[in-house]
């Protein structure tokens, strides 16, 4: 194995690593926003429920 082969393999490995890091953060961020949206929906539903209870 010569130096060019080592460079090529290193480049391919780094490609996979960087792509993984990018996708991992992207997926985590999307999950974070989905959870935030879910929490906001739950809070809104709770508020509505308590307002209905007060009105009655």
């Amino acid at each position: 194995m010569n130096i060019a082969d080592i460079c090529n393999i290193t480049a391919w490995v780094l490609c996979v690593v960087v792509a993984f890091l990018l996708l991992r953060d992207f997926v985590r961020t999307e999950i974070h926003f989905l959870q935030e949206k879910k929490e906001q929906a739950e809070q809104a539903a709770e508020q509505e429920g308590s307002e209905d209870g007060t009105a009655e």
């Binding site: 060019a4 090529n8 480049a11 391919w12 960087v18 990018l22 953060d25 992207f26 961020t29 926003f33």
Partner: protein, 461 residues
């Protein structure tokens, strides 16, 4: 290059700290890569003399562009270049097309940059594969932009200075000033005008590459201490730098490399440095080429994603792309969305194809800028709205610019007609999609929020 549309709240909080030198750095920093790669397609398409003529003719077109954009940009209520101008002067369909063209102008430029990086590394050792380094460069730069850590203006200034210095080093190393010792052999190595006037037209189109994006200097208007002075001065000095650099590049490359080899070269300045036989010059140009490509690609990823996010924020695209990363504040969805597109083009390795598509997109924007200039003066004649800068020679200026642009488009089609047709069909299909599927979702108030407050409804509404 171009900055994204800034919301009125952000616009008010921007500090006005930039002077002409910063505008110069902004303009030249990303554009300088055009001298390290791509410009030599002018030689391939038109011959040596056509390339030089094309350079000077295209510089006149860009002077006109900078003048027009400077007048309109300093009046527009928000930053965003020709996209913002199209919003307020032509309406949503034109704005959508201009935005899309700007995105693909940058996306193709960044693809071209990383192709050259891969090829440069391959030149060190033929066993080094081009593809993994092309992909890796794009992924790393996308990652940097994703993390919100784009190159700062200072770093861009340093890279620009280093890259330009490398060109001067190459010039001096040729001993051009000494007739006895000069390495320059213009008479022997150039091929004149092998394709006649049609070759000049072809060269005009590709000469765009020397200056592609310099009009983006007008986007710094918001952040300038004195936009009326800084923008035109910085842009013109930037254009002059690129014109001098381009002429030196032509002179050195044409004098060191036979025209037949120079035309298809992927990295003409580096090849010229190798032709001098001087190791330190070759190293300098290797470093300069890589730095110029990286700086350009970095800026392009930033600008393309910002432009895509701006389209989304203005409801011209689904608003999913306007979301900012909660931690890094980057337009992360736009970066991820555009990455595979640039990757796909970069992986083809076809530098001439991506350069052609980038130039085609840019020329279409320049043509629309001429239309916008006429419309701007008609809608807001001199005296009706405060202008920091007035473009001279109206109505002749946009007409001359348009003629040069049309010549460039004609020249492009001579050898890349299929590419131009494909590009035109792409934008046509995108427009049809926009009208049929997207137009009904446009939020007119959000689309023109800043302008409505300042001017009221624009006259096209």
């Amino acid at each position: 290059m171009e900055q994204p549309n800034k919301k009125p709240a952000e616009k008010n909080s921007i500090r006005r700290v930039l002077g002409p030198i910063h505008v110069w750095a902004l303009g030249v920093g990303i554009v300088l890569v055009g001298e390290f790669m791509g410009w030599n397609l002018t030689i391939k398409q038109g011959g040596s003399i056509a390339a030089l003529l094309g350079l000077w003719v295209m510089s006149m077109m860009y002077v006109g562009q900078v003048m027009m954009v400077s007048e309109m940009a300093t009046v527009m209520p928000e930053a965003g270049g020709q996209y913002t101008m199209a919003k307020y002067l032509l309406g949503p369909l034109a704005a959508f097309n201009v935005g899309l063209m700007l995105v693909f102008e940058y996306a193709m430029l960044e693809a071209g940059d990383v192709i050259v990086v891969g090829q440069l590394l391959n030149s060190l050792n033929p066993d080094i594969q081009i593809l993994p380094f092309t992909i890796l460069t794009l992924l790393v730069l996308a990652f940097i932009n994703y993390r919100g850590a784009q190159a700062t203006l200072t770093l861009n200034f340093v890279i620009t200075a280093v890259a330009f210095t490398c060109v001067i080093v190459l010039l001096i190393s040729t001993n051009f000033y000494d007739p006895q010792a000069t390495l320059i052999q213009l008479k022997e190595l150039t091929n004149g005008l092998p394709y006649g006037p049609l070759g000049i037209m072809a060269a005009i189109g590709y000469s765009c590459w020397f200056f592609l994006g310099i009009e983006g200097t007008a986007m710094a208007a918001d952040e300038c201490r004195s936009p009326a002075r800084s923008i035109p001065l910085g842009a013109i000095v930037g254009l002059s730098t690129l014109l001098i650099g381009g002429t030196i590049t032509w002179f050195v490359c044409s004098g060191l490399i036979p025209a037949g080899e120079l035309g298809p070269s992927v990295y003409p300045l580096y090849d010229a440095a190798l032709a001098t036989g001087k190791l330190f010059v070759a190293i300098a140009l290797f470093v300069g080429s890589i730095l110029a490509c990286l700086a350009s690609a970095n800026g392009c990823i930033n600008d393309a994603s910002n432009a895509w996010a701006a389209l989304s924020r203005d409801t011209l695209l689904p608003n999913v792309f306007a979301k900012e990363h909660p931690k890094y504040k980057s337009h992360y969805r736009a970066i991820i969305f555009l990455l595979p597109i640039s990757l796909a083009f970069a992986m083809t390795g076809l530098l001439d194809q991506v350069v052609t598509f980038s130039i085609f997109s840019a020329l279409m924007v320049y043509l629309l800028t001429c239309v916008m200039m006429y419309r701007f003066r008609k809608m807001y004649p001199l005296g009706t709205v405060k202008r920091s800068f007035v473009a001279p020679l109206f109505p002749l200026l946009p007409a001359v610019v348009a003629v040069i642009v049309v010549c460039g488009l004609f020249g492009l089609h001579l050898n890349y007609g299929i590419n131009l047709i494909s590009g035109a069909v792409f934008y046509l299909l995108a427009s049809i999609w926009f009208l049929k599927r997207r137009a009904k979702f446009i939020d007119q108030d959000r689309f023109l929020e800043a302008g409505l407050k300042q001017w009221g409804k624009p006259k096209w509404m």
